[in-house]
Symmetry: C2
Subunit: 335 residues, 2 copies
């Protein structure tokens, strides 16, 4: 009674079974190079019979390709799982690599360990390239970019020379602002995102630009942090000090929904006493009461585009960068 060796079949086994050389077997398996019909069929048959699977480590050693890319999200898994932005983005990344045979891994940071393990993973040749989805973290962006592997960012990483995809925050904010004006709002204010984030700064800039163009002043601002609570607090503050405000551009839907609560606490009705435009067109936009008029923001499209760019880079081409996606106004009930 002999113990069956449980060693996986190698390319050598396949070649032998097919009666060809290892080189020919390799050619059949990888396509591309022309191989004669009989040889091709013999190899295919041998592969099927032996249940052969190429050893990716051996292959990677020579091709320097592992056949996988990674979506790096320098946020704790708790945030990644709770914020729909990331899941939608991951979905988009997946789309970009469908039918390419390239796996799309997902890596987020551990609450205690921070981003180091993510970096280590990426720098250790586990992936051929990365899509980084981050709203902040310049250091991380730099570190990732230094890996000498192709990387594309979703959202302006704030580091010159890096490829990225983003929406035109300023333009979108201006559109939102003009919508409020066209609806007859007399005094506009804005609840901004954090001023240390690109998106926060740009959305404010767009608001102020549109106001200036309309001959108005855009000085009524309060800084939020993109959370519900932060939005509520900022809006409450702004509206308390400036009860004359009848139109508010809020730089995210979540904050806008907090702003609705603030307005309620101050006895003001939306949109009757106060018109509101949010940003993101996320789920809360349709869940809040009233439903939010907002600027569309498509994380799936952003990530899909980033994926396509990454694919180009992997193929040795240099995609245009940055790619700036348009954002359209979605009119609902809040303005």
């Amino acid at each position: 009674m002999q113990v069956t060796e449980r060693t996986a079949p190698t390319l050598d086994d396949v070649a032998r079974a097919a009666g060809v050389s290892r080189a020919t077997a390799s050619r059949v398996i990888n396509g591309a190079v022309p191989v004669s019909r009989p040889a091709t069929e013999a190899v295919r048959k041998a592969v099927a019979m032996l249940g052969y699977r190429p050893n990716v480590a051996a292959r990677a050693l020579v091709t320097r390709r592992v056949g996988a890319v990674v979506v790096l999200v320098p946020e704790t898994e708790e945030r990644v799982f709770s914020d729909p932005f990331f899941s939608r983005a991951y979905h988009g990344a997946l789309e970009a690599f469908r039918h390419t045979g390239i796996h799309v891994l997902l890596s987020m940071s551990h609450p205690h360990d921070g981003v180091d393990p993510m970096l280590a993973f990426f720098q250790s040749d586990h992936a051929d390239g990365a899509i980084v989805i981050s709203h902040h973290g310049y250091d991380f962006a730099r570190a990732v970019a230094n890996s000498n592997r192709p990387v594309v960012f979703v959202g302006n990483p704030g580091v010159p020379g890096l490829a990225y995809v983003d929406v035109d925050h300023a333009r979108a904010a201006a559109t939102a602002t003009r919508h409020l004006l066209s609806r007859g709002a007399q005094t506009l204010g804005t609840v901004t995102g954090p001023m240390d984030m690109f998106a926060g700064v740009e959305r404010l800039r767009g608001f102020q630009q549109a106001m200036a163009q309309a001959g108005r002043s855009g000085h009524l601002t309060a800084e939020g942090d993109f959370t519900f609570a932060g939005g509520e607090a900022a809006a409450f503050d702004l509206l308390s000090h400036h009860p004359e405000i009848d139109g508010l551009f809020v730089a995210s839907d979540l904050m806008a929904s907090g702003a609705i609560r603030a307005a309620e606490r101050l006895g003001r009705r939306v949109p009757g006493d106060l018109m509101l435009v949010g940003f993101d067109d996320s789920l809360v936009a349709t869940q809040s009461i009233p439903q939010l008029t907002t600027m569309e923001n498509r994380p799936d499209l952003l990530a899909r585009t980033a994926g396509q760019m990454l694919l180009e880079k992997l193929n040795g081409r240099q995609p245009e960068s940055p790619v700036i996606l348009p954002s359209r106004l979605v009119v609902r009930d809040s303005a």
Copy 2:
């Protein structure tokens, strides 16, 4: 002006720079084997100076270890991201591998492509082992188990011989049932999970067992599907036909919260007219009104335990299996 070669430094470069052999350099880098102080320091210095990083492909080729495990979730990414069970489980898996130097990847299925890419990924040596989190899918369990790599399941996979971690569904259900009885409920019913799922069947069994032990009949049952809507429908049906029911064991919190709605529609108050015990102690348990009395279920613990078992397997040991975790009653307002 010469172009700087951008080839990553190899172990050879390190060895040369340190004035030792490649083998010694390797020993220093991997620890374990004793190396003299001077040699150790020379190598460390060389590594730092050159920015050397081991090539995982080359290493994997000889060690047959890639330094990563994968959490396989045969559900669409949409479900994975929206159901807190999975995020909590992933968190637990991460915990198990902290400080081991082993990366924990996450792989879910694409809505269009199904589970094949996941399988392909795992079977192609991208990971040394897997934790499978699935509530169903015997075929998938079999396929994964056939990969000849260590695998541990979270939840009984229903295939004999496979290692898994689970809660004692029947025991927990019995505890829930006895709680209802001890609170004075006279006529008990249960809304079950799907009968093609292990958890569904077992929780029903526990209910009936406890009823039998108390000399009661456990025939008042209605099958749900673990969703809110399914729970509401099943409860509505059961309560309409059997208005005498004053105690209900509902096999998941989500369904229990649906059952509350059903009770409301029938003009019955919880817990006044109807006592309710759920299962999972998930977020909805505290969000529903009234808050749910429920059986604890800890996906993070399940996955962490599975991770520890996987780690043992990777180290050549055979962990006890199955591991059945206890579940305790969490008393809140619904019973």
